[in-house]
């Protein structure tokens, strides 16, 4: 049954995982997302849905546990924050290379290095451009509310299994720690091993007499076949780019200037639009929901009537590069951001619009 609750983003994520039929969560504590595993341990889903919850010895181990579960065709996930996500890049690259579906949540904090535990969006490059080795992509979902934190668990798994790819929920400390109203989805049963054998015939569940062995691997020493594997990956990525772009358009079509922002930054920009309107400035908000694939076409569609774009991010300017690639120099594109865990206020965003575009 659906249920309305007041929850932190991290708690909603944990509840949603149990409800969507997740088979396993493997994690390692790190602020500001430790509530995810704490909530799961408190709820003991292994006694109800049969979901496995495990505290690993490191993020290196937890991502490899996710690789393992994904290789068995199970719905498995982990969550972490920036330094932990860096440690996971080895496993992330192997998951891409082995063509297997999984879900990773990164509740970003400020870096580089150990940095701060306060919110940040400085892992855009790492996630969208690929933080591990090799030519690979991962579907990246950026929640802007506690509700989306819950909804994107099941969306992330659906996309992961549709394309045998890693889905990443790229949240930030603000979304993780904030409480909002959330409608939790009804419980969905976990798939049986027999169902997985049918739906994921590649899964390593034990070889039956009627088929050859299944091997989950990313290794191919011969350059010819390895290039073929890469080409197949690239073809899959083009299909995803064609089919899975998601964004929210808030008043862009009659705006003079666009704000582009994802996650919590988009929430702040919505307030900035209200403040700017009082001052006679017509702003719209284009919020990418998938950071990859990116809403390039929607940006281009706006170019006929807008005078400029301000990309508002909690970083030194990362998504703005993709905005510029989409705009191809046709209108001015600027960046405004704060770093180190400082979250800009809506008023600061309005001031930035005025100063960047001389209003």
């Amino acid at each position: 049954m659906e249920e309305v609750r007041l929850m932190k983003g991290n708690e909603a994520l944990a509840e949603a995982a149990i409800r969507c039929g997740c088979d396993g969560y493997f994690g390692y504590p790190i602020t500001p997302q430790s509530e995810v595993m704490e909530t799961l341990m408190l709820l003991k889903p292994w006694e109800t849905t049969g979901m496995v919850v495990m505290q690993a010895e490191s993020e290196v181990a937890s991502i490899n546990m996710v690789y393992a579960g994904a290789g068995c065709g199970k719905k498995v996930m982990t969550s972490t924050s920036s330094p932990g996500f860096s440690l996971m890049q080895e496993g992330v690259s192997y998951i891409a290379g082995a063509d297997i579906p999984a879900l990773v949540v990164n509740v970003m904090r400020g870096g580089p290095g150990l940095g701060t535990i306060q919110p940040s969006q400085a892992d855009y490059f790492q996630t969208v451009k690929g933080g591990g080795h090799g030519d690979y992509r991962q579907i990246t979902l950026a929640p802007a509310s506690v509700q989306e934190m819950a909804d994107f668990v099941s969306l992330g798994f659906d996309l992961a299994f549709k394309y045998n790819i890693l889905s990443v929920i790229l949240a930030d400390g603000l979304i993780g720690q904030m409480m909002e109203k959330v409608v939790l989805p009804p419980y969905q049963a976990r798939r049986t091993n027999e169902e997985i054998r049918k739906e994921c015939p590649w899964a390593s569940l034990g070889r039956t007499a009627d088929r050859k062995r299944n091997v989950i691997t990313s290794l191919e020493l011969e350059p010819g076949p390895m290039e073929a594997r890469n080409l197949a990956l690239q073809e899959k990525y083009r299909t995803i780019e064609a089919n899975e772009v998601r964004f929210e358009n808030v008043g862009c079509d009659d705006a003079d200037y666009l704000l582009m922002a994802f996650g919590s930054s988009a929430r702040i920009c919505q307030k900035a639009i209200e403040i700017a309107a009082e001052q006679g400035i017509k702003l719209g908000l284009l919020r990418p929901i998938t950071l990859w694939p990116f809403c390039t076409e929607e940006i281009q569609r706006q170019l006929s009537h807008i005078k400029g774009i301000l990309s508002v991010e909690f970083n030194a300017g990362q998504m703005v590069e993709d905005v510029k690639l989409a705009v191809e120099g046709k209108v001015p594109v600027h960046h405004f951001g704060r770093m180190g865990g400082i979250v800009p206020t809506p008023e600061e965003v309005v001031e930035a619009v005025k100063s960047k575009f001389n209003l």
């Binding site: 007041l6 535990i117 306060q118 720690q177 904030m178 909002e180 919590s264 929430r267 919505q270 206020t345």
Partner: protein, 181 residues
């Protein structure tokens, strides 16, 4: 209708839980709510604050620069947030922890002797509920019946026997809040 509130004081004063009860009450009354704490090691004994927004419509930014109401429970928070109250807004404070009183004249300033009253009632932990009562007296953002429902939701079941005591504290707070001239 939208009400933007900051509650700020020391960790351990029940700042975050007061905000949570308020947010839950709004939720029970069918409103949109956000509850955003300043999180981190500060919550262990240092200053703690939480932004609560209760609105009839979808809430945009959970991070704010100015507030309709500031509830101030120590001097550092007063120094930090007095200037952030919107003109015409409210500042509620307990004089118990304050050495330098607020000076703004373009806002409504209220005092509430919550700490002394809580101690006199023999229920120091009701401190934050007295404050909450004071807030509800001057801004009836949510109805008392929904506050009680919110309280029930946010308290663990083993503490439900404390509900009448909390209700009494809220009502006491409604009585004792005083507007400063």
């Amino acid at each position: 209708m939208k009400h933007e509130i900051i509650i700020a004081g020391f960790g351990g004063q029940g700042v975050l839980s007061m905000g949570k009860i308020l947010a839950y009450s709004g939720l029970m009354q069918g409103k949109e709510v956000t509850w955003l704490p300043a999180y981190g090691p500060e919550q262990r004994g240092g200053t703690a604050n939480v932004t609560v927004i209760i609105s009839d419509e979808r809430i945009s930014s959970p991070i704010l620069n100015t507030y309709d109401t500031a509830i101030i429970l120590n001097q550092q928070s007063l120094d930090k947030f007095e200037s952030k109250v919107k003109p015409g807004g409210n500042l509620i404070y307990d004089p118990y922890g304050i050495s330098t009183a607020p000076t703004r004249t373009d806002i409504n300033v209220y005092t509430i002797d919550a700490m002394d009253t809580a101690l006199a009632m023999g229920a120091a932990k009701s401190f934050n509920m007295i404050i909450l009562g004071g807030l509800l007296q001057i801004c009836p953002i949510v109805d008392l019946e929904y506050v009680m429902l919110g309280l029930k939701k946010s308290l663990p079941e083993r503490h439900h026997h404390l509900l009448p005591q909390n209700e009494a504290a809220i009502k006491k707070g409604m009585e004792i809040i005083t507007k400063k001239d």
